[in-house]
Symmetry: C2
Subunit: 386 residues, 2 copies
């Protein structure tokens, strides 16, 4: 493992774990939710606001940062942390998910992905090796391997092919990562303590997930992610895959469920042994007026909130709930004031980060199962009515 | 004067004054700059951020709040302060400026203005009396009279006609204000301590400005504003009008220069005895990437900032300058992250509010003239090059 990176499980409660991740930019208590800062900023909030919310790590998107302002420019600025003025840990994805989402704008073969920029149509190539190099220049604390993101539904044959390719790319990515770390390339490394996480694929097929886990672990990464979920499969299928896959991953290494999900998904994934999460839902939904409460989500654009003097959630202690009413937030959404995006984002991120804090406490005190049951009795996936 | 409203001049330096305005929601040190919160929010920042910047009073727009969410709804919420969650002073304009800006969508006669909403084309009427009633429901600490906003250039004849109508409207507005305050109407009053300011018009014609000042003062308001400037006239003409008009206004009452202006305009108006200012420039320009420095304004969209690791202004202590580089801010503007609007707004408002603080200090210490000369030697109206 690179100097400066580490992970210890400090408490167990069933399959749920509480732990501490150490990175070159500080420690992260797990299970943790990582707000998504696509282009070097979590949309609608300042870093100071994120820190006040207790965000201990954020995510950056390699695809977007590679296109603008470019990884070389960021390396010249001293890396992503210095460039964006954030000195807590950062995880970068590999760009794979974004590239695969380009549809007709990309072609994929064994070498990697060739694609046209969604911005100007310019041609680019992303490979297992290039994704390593770009992230080395960005200098995130955690780099992800470049994986193939299978769409859902897929046949078992297609899922196997894709999983095997991802496994071959994982080996190439690790070799490149070690060469870059050893100084055997001309790639500028802005964070010598960067860790690299492998990604388990295999769709909803247990045998493929198991083989993917084994092959990825065999390559040897600092930690392991579960990719290719939250892509349209039934929620029970997702929970099953998560529960099976974590059992095939080493106990001593962090587990990261990529791109998921709703608050109840986080609770269920923690119950199955997951440590790290990221998702655009709390921030994206906030900008659309969808906010979360203990009881479920609420669309503040609804006319019934026009004269509602209550905060979003009376039990919430976030800035938005301490200061503003649903009526005011609905007004700001109606007149399209960008402050609405800020206030709703502060609330939703506070909800996610507080939820993770409660989960960590419950695991520490051995009461996670009771917390989980209480949570599900209260929280509904359907919009709440008051 | 209504209970809870007061003004004392505490220091004089030449014609510049330092003073203290008392309102039902607290005190305001003058000269003061009021950030513009058109629809109940200063765009791109939270109230907490405004407070941290030292904003002691903000402006709300009657026209916009009347249309959405409506003054009756705001009154049912307990008034504008409670509705928006801001408990420092608020000044509301009368809506006159916005209505006159509607062009073909409005007609004006002695009774008032009839106009179609810029939102849905619905028909509305705004009169001297209705502007009083709406602002009584909003419950701002300072209400402005409904005035006719002359466009520039205008003949002396047109300017006289308009000034005289404004003077007649001022009398009607004061009568209505006193009736509302006395409880002789069915208008809901959400702030019994509200003050009402008269507005001096008269274009760039000294004789008209003088007559307008005398007629407005004869009606008797808590304070007096200078309207109809920053509408396209040469800057020297504006300074002349300000310098003449303040001399015709009572020493013991606050003077408010409406809708102006660039930082050097504020310094010059203070030198001529003005106490209150508002302007959308620092907030609007911030969203476009135009930021202010001691040397003048700078457009952060410019490519030459792409690799500039310096803060906007090395001498500025605002959050943005303490934490972020021009390179990062330019990146956020380029990729259209709304955080760019927030960070630039924090800087520009900090610049304006700090400038007013320096002005108040200089007046207190009798060094305003020296401050003014130093300011002009450094600050340029042209864009700065580094």
């Amino acid at each position: 493992m690179p100097a400066g990176f580490g992970f210890v499980v400090t408490h167990r409660d069933g399959r749920a774990r509480r732990g501490r991740l150490t990175t070159p930019h500080g420690q992260v208590d797990t299970p943790v939710f990582m707000p998504v800062g696509t282009r070097g900023a979590v949309k609608a909030v300042t870093h100071e606001q994120l820190e006040a919310l207790g965000a201990s790590i954020v995510l950056g998107n390699t695809y977007h940062l590679y296109l603008r302002p470019g990884d070389a420019l960021i390396a010249r600025r001293g890396g992503l942390h210095r460039f964006i003025g954030w000195d807590r840990p950062i995880l970068t994805d590999s760009g794979g998910y974004q590239v695969f989402s380009l549809g007709d704008l990309r072609t994929i073969d064994e070498r990697g992905a060739r694609f046209r920029s969604h911005l100007d149509g310019s041609e680019h190539e992303l490979t297992a090796e290039r994704a390593v190099d770009i992230q080395a220049r960005l200098g995130s604390d955690i780099a992800m391997v470049f994986d193939e993101c299978l769409s859902y539904p897929a046949t078992e044959g297609a899922a196997r092919e894709s999983m095997e390719r991802t496994a071959r790319w994982a080996r190439r990515a690790r070799e490149r990562f070690e060469a870059v770390r050893a100084g055997a390339t001309d790639v500028v490394v802005t964070n010598p303590g960067q860790a690299q996480f492998g990604i388990v694929q295999g769709g909803v097929f247990p045998a493929l997930r198991r083989e993917s886990a084994e092959r990825t672990v065999a390559v040897g990464f600092e930690a392991y992610a579960i990719g290719g979920l939250s892509v349209g499969e039934p929620v029970d299928a997702m929970y099953d895959v998560v529960g099976q896959t974590t059992a095939w991953l080493p106990e001593a290494r962090p587990r990261y469920l990529m791109g998921t999900g709703m608050p109840d998904d986080l609770v269920e994934a923690v119950a199955r042994g997951v440590d790290l999460f990221d998702c655009v839902l709390p921030t994206r939904n906030a900008r659309n007026g969808q906010v979360l409460t203990r009881y479920g989500r609420m669309n503040l654009r609804n006319a019934r909130f026009a004269e509602d003097d209550r905060p979003i959630d009376a039990a919430c202690r976030c800035y938005t709930c301490r200061r503003h009413s649903r009526a005011y937030l609905r007004h700001l959404l109606t007149v399209q004031e960008m402050t609405a995006a800020t206030l709703n984002t502060l609330h939703n991120l506070s909800f996610y980060l507080d939820l993770m804090g409660e989960i960590r406490d419950a695991i520490e005190f051995g009461s996670f199962e009771s917390f989980r049951q209480t949570f599900h009795r209260t929280f509904s996936r359907r919009p709440v009515s008051s």
